[in-house]
Structure formats: C-alpha cells, structure tokens
Amino acid sequence: MAELTYRDAVARGIAQEMERDSNVVFLGEDVARAGGVFKATVGLVDRFGPLRVRDTPISEQAILGAAMGAAMTGLRPIAEIMFADFAAVCFDYIANEFPKLRYMTNGQLGCPLVVRTGNGGGARFGAQHSQSIENWTMMIPGLKVVAPSSPVDVVGLMAAAVRDDNPVIFHEHKSLYATKSEVPDGEIVDTLGTAKILRPGRDATILALALMVPRALAAAETLASEHGIDCEVIDVRSLVPLDTQTILNSVARTGRLFTVEENPRLCGWGAEIASIVADEAFWDLDGPIVRITTPHIPLPAADHLEDLALPSAPRIVERIARVMNGARR
C-alpha cells in the first residue's frame, strides 16, 4: 500500500498491462520521451522501449486510425488524445469507425483499444482545452466510457479497459492528476460498468463523476452537518456500461436524485440518467430530479470565472439544500 498520485496511477495502470501482455502498445504525442504533457506516462518508454511506447506527429486521425488498424489485427493499443477537446479533430474514429466496426462486419472484426484523454476544466486553459466531453462519447453506441475519480480506480479501470475487447474511452481528469491517495500493491483489475457508493445516505442520491466526486462528497458532509440532509453519494465511474441497478436502487431508498455534472448542461450524462429514473423509478421519486451542471456556455479562461462555471461544493450544497427544503414544504 502506497500513496500514489492520480497521474502516477495512469503510468502504473498502463505498465501493469504492458507487463502482462506484449500486445499492449501505447502511442501519442510527446508520450514517450517526454512522458506526456501531463507527465502521466513518465518512465514507460524506458521500461518498455520505443517500439511499444511511441511518439507520434500531431496527427490525431492517424493516431486513432493506426490504433484501430492495429487493434483489428491483434494488438491492444492504448492511444492518447492529449486534451479531450482534441477528440473533435479525430471524431470520425470515435463516432463512426471504432464503435461500428463489429456491428457492420457482423462480428468479423473487433476493436479492442483504449483512448485516454485529458478531460475537464479547472486549469485555466480556456474554452478549447477545458471541456468535459464524456457525453460526446457516451452518446455513441458501441463505445465503452469510463471516467475515474481516484488513483486506485485509475489503475483498476485502466486494466479493465485494456483487457476489454471493445473500444473504451478513458477520460482522465486534468484537475485530478495531482491528487493522491492510497493504492494497494500488486495487480489491480476493476470491473467496467460498476458504480460505487462512496457515502451511504437516506435523504437523497447524488450522482457524480471524476472531478465532481470529491466536490459532491464535500457537499454531502456540509449538507449533513449544516442542513441535516443525509445524502448518498455515488461515483458513477462508468457511463457505458451504466450501472443502472446501483442508481435505481439508491433512488428507491432515498426518493430523490441530484446529478453533479461538469459538462455544459444540454445532453449531459445526467440527462440520460434523469430520463431513465423518470421512467423506471418514477413512482419512487418524492420530488423533482435536479441536475447541477456547468451552465451551457463555453468555458472562460479567467480563474474566478471558471470557478463560477464549474459546480463547486458550495453551489452543490446551496442547490440541494434549497430544493430539499422546498420539497418538504
């Protein structure tokens, strides 16, 4: 058991899988010699050599296309898209190629690969380097989509993603790279499609993802101590497959649902879950489903404005307290 940063957990997860399977290869811009612009892949090229850990040109389409061609024919590539926003320049592979290959070929070909992205805001990088794009990938049938919030989840979900026979989009959160926590020694393999109840609670269910998880947890503490509202906090972790059981069971117990989403509002993952709950758990609900999201705007660069944009613990507290008090009227 050692303390590990989220950043180092990325390298550890990749290394664990490269050690196990020589078909696992890794490519991206500045990922090898420089160890990645977020320093999340430091040491990999020294350990596994420049034929398995490869620096590429600034050619995101070639990176993802090459990963796909290699995946189709026997390798298990991991590809880095440095900032998640750049998924837009290679979106054809994400939306039209990876996820449709198996279906279109009636199962003749598969695409077992992982795309890692530096997702999310908080680093004052402005509108084109700060987006939360989970829903860009969640909306596409045929992909799996995960977004870990802690170092141990990074390692375990990375392993699960690499071992999965489907294309998996692995959203790392830029503003979590420096966070630390205990990670057990030895091999860690988690399971895709499982949410985690991080804090049990009776009064309301809060769903959160990635950077929003620590904020939701902090908010829950305040809600309990200052407002007497006991929230269950669930880290959704995996958007596809989606652990609807854990979510629906929780709502059945609490009767209330809040989502905390970093994405701009429209068509965020919380919308999908809200629609599932409003259908399948309607009679369990004791009040409105409320989504707490970044407003539907591009992100500003300025620190104080960006802080206003992303859901913060105080905003979560304020909103949930207001709604829950209203509900008791």
Binding site: G65, A67, A70
Partner: protein, 342 residues
Amino acid sequence: MTSKKDRDGETALKNDDISPDIRQELFRLQVEIRDCEKRANDLFFQNMIKGTSHLSLGQEAIAAGMAMAMQPGDKSFCTYRGHAHTLARGVPMEKVLGELMLRDNGLMRGKGGSMHLTSVEHGVMGSYAIIGAHLPIACGAAWRAQYLGQDDVSVCFFGDGTTNIGAFHEALNFAAIWKLPVVFVCENNLYMEYTLTSEITAVEHPAADRASAYGLERIVIDGNDADVVYRTAQAAFAKARSGGGPSMIECMTYRHSGHSRADPAKYRPPGELERWLEKDPIKIYRTRLAEFGVPEARIRAIEEESKRKVDEATEVCKASPPAPAELLTTDVYADGGWAWRN
C-alpha cells in the same frame, strides 16, 4: 509470339515475366468482377438491391492486378467501391451479391451492406464509407505486422477525390516515418462523385504529385492494364515486405457507370466514355491473351464459367431469406450483444 510494349511506354518486357497461368487468372478475375458488377447493376433495376451501391465497371484491372500480387495473409482495406477488391481476394460471388441484396447469406448477413464488404478469412479487412478514414487504419494494420515481425502487407485502395481530405495527409506521413509495410493504391477514375477531381485539386496527379511530400517515389501507371498493375504491385509489396516502407501508386482508370446507383453520369463530356471504352481493361486483356497464344476456346471457357458462376450466385441469393430480426441487436459489443446497462 512477339514481346509487347507496356502501355506506359516502358521498355518491352518478355512474356515470361508473367506466367501464362497468372495471365489467365488475371483475365478470369477481371471477367468475373465485370460480370458480377453487371449483375449487381441489373439487380438494382429489378429493385432487388436496396440502398446504394458503387460499381467498379471499367476499373477491374486494378483489383485483379493487385490481388494477384498479394499473398495469403495480406490485408485489403477497401472503400464503398469495394466489390471488385473483395471478389479479387477470392470471396464467393454469392456472399458479395447476397450482401448487396441485404440477405441472410451475405458476407455480413445484410448488417453492413454494399459499402462495408468484409471477409476477414480472405484478408478483406473491411470497406469504409467515410472518405479517407481507412488510410490511417491500414497504417495500423501494417504497424501490427511490423511490431510482431509478421510479413504481410496492408493494401489500401481509395479514389482520386480522397486525396484532398486530411486523413490522407496524416496517413501518408505516418506510414513514411514509421516505414510501414503498407501500399496505398489510388484509383484515379477522374471524378469524385460528380465533380472532376482536376477542377478541385491543386496538382494534376492528385496522389502521385504529392508523393514527394512524404518522401515517396512518384508512381503513375496505366490502371487499365492488369499486367502493369500486377508488376507495379509486386515491386511495391516486395519493398514493403523487405522493410523498405510504404509506396503510393496512382492508377489511371475510368468508371464506365455513374458514381453510384443513383447517378446516370450526365455530367460527362460527350465522347469521354467512348474513349475510355476503347481502353476497356477486359478488352485489352482479352487481346493480350490471344496475342500470347491462349486459344480462343480457353478464353471462351473462362468467360462462360464466369457467367455460370454469376447466375448460380444470383439464384442462391434470391433464395436466401433476410436475416432474422434478432440480428438487429447482435455484435454491438464483444459479448455478442448490445447491453449498455445492467
């Protein structure tokens, strides 16, 4: 039997650089592709083929010449205009026509359709319908061969219009810097859908005139002469297999029909089709076989056998049902199903 001058005007090559058996195979392939594509065309007009379809009528020499130079294990990456390349790798006609007719006996049981023909067992690693996407994908397959020390070559077919999309550029550079065993084959049939590629391209030869931008040799060949294609392919594949890296080959050709089913090709200047019909690859090759002493009876036998095959395949397809409804939700994910939730 006299030695022949290649269409591209190069030094005469003796007959014995291509064996009589191979020549007959090249002919057979071209004839079968032609007949099968024509049948596809007829089936459209009988409304037996729904959706779209893109024929290679007139472009058969490229598919035949390339496939003949491939070895088992080599990988073909095709476009929506991929029936010819699929057939050329030995995929049975009924599997191709069945897919075009969206029947259960088709290559993908109707789930993919005419634009996505795939037969992994024959090395046909998919047909891609978003322009340019498969060039990087072919690079990836070649990267796998290089990484694992396997000696197959990935061959990527695309059209002249495709040379103006970003993925083309990224793939060519990628292949060159990693010295990948991939061969890019541009079938220059002059047109994108309805627009002349020369009107919207900065250079005359949209692929070859850009080869130097990737440190590659400029190669333009007569794509209607299967021998020329075959020889050029052999050289490129040998280079790829021996670690010499990628090649790009621009094959000049012409499609005899419209871009797709929906296109009567009215935009062509008068006389253009007729000029190209004179250079019909099958006409050229039939004459060549005769000149090299293949008896007319043998040629006829090939032609008749082809027609018989097409007829048989058509009957099989017509008798085939559509795929069962359950197929709608199979093979979205690797577990065979489509579950996105528990």
